[in-house]
């Protein structure tokens, strides 16, 4: 039978089988011997946070917010302009490439040219976000109702018809999405500290890696408070004021010389064999082949394994967690607790989860899978839970497990699958950060290339990552179209 339900079942089955296969292939052994001491230290750290031991803490917070706000401002403006040209294939392709590269790697690339400067921080966020905004705004405009524009008198100029008949339909969605992106940008900005920009992540990573858990816990608490209170003080009305303040305090600048840019383009990113005076094509082929065999293929393989296993775990976790916040289940208190749990899980940086899991479980792929699944699972559960609030069940509908299995789940399943497929691409991107932590995904090899100061190799590896991400995105889009899944405008990219 080729019904919608059978297609949903097939897709679920395929994804589940792939996920199980990935789990079989993945190295998920637990190797640690006595994590007790370290866990006790971590626990103790969270109970005795030390807010005063971080050098230049306020400056770090300032930079975190500055890069985030400036990055979103530039990224959304650029994305908006690109969205106007969304029907052009070249624009869609360019924005897909730009957003397939993780902020960390953009940061590492810009570091080579602009150094440790405020401009690097701004660009590392603005560039990938520009691609993301372009896609989301472009799709908003594509999906919006064209009737008002058609109803205009013939001869209305293009600007007026866009301004008065197209933009107002999507403006509210764009604002909501922008606000969500600011929260993401604060997280991204913090993460940029891992590669040396002076944001809060700089100190957070140091504290946890050095075992200074009291300092780390304090930083984490501050970070959580900033993220969770964002909506209170980052009012849309005040946004220009905040932006102005960050521009005054951390104006995007870099002492860049033209020589540095030329060197980057004509030397650093040119494959090593081509830099010799007399080179042959065979040398370049050997270089590429070696890179392909030793790094790209294993890296892509591990990235896929990690991504698929994490996707499966995410799905299971989301299905388990969403009733916690759904108005169809529990009562006010339990929902409150559920909300807190989900917010906590999705705000904790994956890096930190992975780090703690490595200490507890040992260095296999398991910490990576768990970290990605907990973080993404909480997001998908949140979206599903919110969606169930719109359901109108009969007064005499079953309760408990029957309500879950026969009333709620069938109604939200298409949306659940849509959210999950949307998240797939993002999970693949996020494997990058786990690579930096030492799980041998493509990100690991990219990080190695940068630490060996081999930008040429890094660029080829990043290119491979881009192709992988675009392929995953295409498969996900194809599946969604086949299943006729529409995300409406609630997608949280």
């Amino acid at each position: 039978m080729n019904t919608t339900a059978s297609r949903l079942r097939h897709t679920t089955l395929i994804l589940a089988v792939l996920g199980l296969l990935a789990l079989l292939l993945a190295d998920i052994s637990i190797t640690t011997r006595d994590p007790g001491i370290e866990l006790a230290h971590i626990g103790n750290g969270f109970l005795t946070p030390d807010f005063f031991s971080t050098e230049k803490l306020w400056q770090a917070l300032g930079y975190t917010l500055a890069f985030a706000l400036q990055g979103v401002a530039v990224g959304s403006a650029g994305g908006f302009l690109l969205a106007l040209l969304w029907r052009w294939r070249a624009v869609r392709a360019a924005s897909a490439i730009v957003r397939a590269i993780h902020e960390l790697f953009w940061g590492l690339l810009f570091l080579q040219v602009f150094g440790l400067s405020t401009l690097t921080g701004l660009l590392a966020i603005a560039v990938p976000y520009c691609g993301i905004f372009a896609k989301v705004f472009g799709e908003f405009l594509e999906e919006s109702d064209r009737a008002p524009a058609r109803a205009l008198p013939t001869g209305s100029d293009a600007f007026s018809s866009f301004w008065f008949a197209r933009l107002p339909l999507v403006w509210q969605h764009m604002k909501t999405y922008g606000a969500y992106r600011v929260e993401c940008a604060v997280r991204s900005s913090a993460i940029l500290g891992f590669i040396g920009l002076p944001t809060i992540g700089f100190h957070l990573e140091t504290a946890f890696r050095q075992g200074e858990y009291s300092t780390g816990a304090a930083l984490l608490y501050i970070f959580l408070v900033v993220i969770l209170s964002l909506r209170l003080w980052l009012r849309p009305v005040l946004l220009p004021l905040w932006l102005f303040a960050t521009l005054l305090w951390a104006p995007p600048q870099a002492s860049v010389t033209s020589g540095r840019l030329i060197r980057f383009l004509s030397e650093d990113i040119v494959p090593a064999p081509l830099r010799q005076s007399q080179w042959q094509w065979s040398e370049l082929a050997d270089w590429l082949l070696k890179l392909l065999q030793e790094q790209i293929l294993p890296g892509v393989g591990q990235t896929l394994v990690l991504g698929m296993a994490a996707l499966l775990a995410t799905g299971i976790l989301a299905l388990m967690l969403f009733p916690l916040i759904s108005s169809q289940f529990g009562h006010r208190l339990s929902r409150g607790a559920g909300h807190s749990l989900l917010v906590l899980l999705r705000t904790l940086p994956e890096f930190l989860l992975a780090f703690v899991f490595v200490l507890v479980l040992g260095p296999s792929m398991l910490p990576g899978i768990l970290a990605l699944a907990l973080h993404t699972g909480a997001i998908v559960a949140h979206l599903c839970g919110r969606f169930t609030d719109t359901l109108n069940l009969r007064v005499d509908a079953a309760n408990g497990l029957n309500r879950y299995a026969f009333e709620v789940l069938p109604r939200i399943y298409p949306n659940f699958l849509a959210f999950l497929l949307y998240r797939w691409e993002i999970i693949m991107r996020e494997t990058a950060i786990l690579g930096v932590l030492g799980i041998t995904t493509l990100g690991f090899y990219i990080d190695s290339a940068f630490s060996e100061l081999r930008t040429d190799r890094a660029l080829v590896l990043i290119g491979a990552g881009v192709m992988l991400n675009i392929a995953v995105d295409a498969i996900s889009r194809g599946l969604r179209q086949r299943l006729r899944l529409r995300h409406g405008l609630t997608d949280q990219n």
């Binding site: 190797t31 300032g62 060996e452």
Partner: protein
């Protein structure tokens, strides 16, 4: 409305707060130096702040320290002339001198010509220190420190290859990079990895500080000596800061006898160094394929 007003007040206060810590803009040339983040990273500014104060007095010029997150970032900053002087490890030092023509090593710690790495193992492995290279390493899980560390990666990998005639991936069941020396101790102590390699200085310091449980983790082998840390200065500093500036910096470092400042490294004192002292490191890095 009152909520909005409050938000505005809070926002305004924070803006002024932010403006208040506006970093001063320099107009005279400032000597900027950095150091690889090899240990005790949470106190980098405290540690190296003393060094900049000392150099600043000695050279009669503003000296600023910039913290970096990774060895590669230190080399990149040096190459980009964001820093003119740097305290590098053996590998990062030769990377820097190779990338910046004219740059040269000017000083090293008195300990540095004969630096060593320790191999450490978790007690449960049953591997113990003996005469010569320890038995029973094959098939264990093993962690290096940072990917670009001389004592945590380059030299241990060199000695492993010399000993076994194959790559670390072929010797061990699992090979990782902890990121730095202290993390190596923590990971081996928790049993996440069975064996690890790190700088002898960091081990000795942590044992002295009592942060290592020597019932759980022990030194099983000491590598032969090799040259490691050194100060490198850019060749174009004389043009920026005046004739003979590199020499002045070198003298300032060699004359340094303030225990408090030296402890930041930590070194007994500094002695002269030249690029040639680190040729063995360059050869090793090339033979391992870490440099072209």
């Amino acid at each position: 409305m009152s909520k909005r007003l409050m938000a505005a007040v809070v926002a305004a206060c924070m803006c002024f707060g932010l403006l208040a810590c506006d970093p001063a803009t320099p107009n005279k040339p400032v000597l900027v130096f950095s150091a690889i983040p090899d240990q005790d990273e949470a106190r980098l500014i405290e540690r190296f702040g003393k060094v900049s104060t000392y150099l600043s007095e000695k050279l009669d010029i503003e000296v600023r320290y910039v913290p970096v997150k990774s060895y590669a970032a230190a080399v990149t900053a040096f190459r980009n002339n964001e820093v003119q002087l740097a305290w590098f490890g053996g590998l990062s030092g030769v990377q820097a001198t190779q990338l910046v023509p004219g740059s040269r090593a000017i000083a090293q710690g008195v300990e540095d010509p004969r630096y060593v790495s320790y191999f450490i193992a978790h007690r449960d492995t049953g591997i113990v220190a003996g005469d010569g290279f320890p038995e029973g390493l094959e098939g264990r899980s093993f962690t290096f420190g940072s990917k670009s560390s001389t004592s945590g990666r380059l030299m241990p990998e060199f000695f492993l290859r010399e000993q076994f005639g194959k790559s670390p991936e072929a010797i061990f069941s699992r090979v990782g990079f902890s990121g730095d020396h202290s993390a190596t101790i923590a990971l081996v102590q928790s049993g996440a990895y069975e064996v690890g390699a790190l700088s002898y200085q960091v081990w000795d310091k942590e044992v002295a500080d009592g942060t290592v449980d020597t019932d759980k983790v022990q030194v099983i082998w000491t590598t032969p000596p090799y040259p490691d840390y050194h100060w490198v200065i850019r060749g174009d500093v004389d043009a920026t800061f005046g004739e003979g500036f590199a020499g002045k910096v070198q003298r300032a470092l060699l004359e340094l006898d303030d225990r408090d400042v030296l402890d930041a490294f930590p070194r007994q004192k500094f002695i002269p160094a030249t690029n040639d002292d680190f040729l063995p490191i360059l050869d090793t890095a090339r033979s391992l394929g870490l440099m072209d």
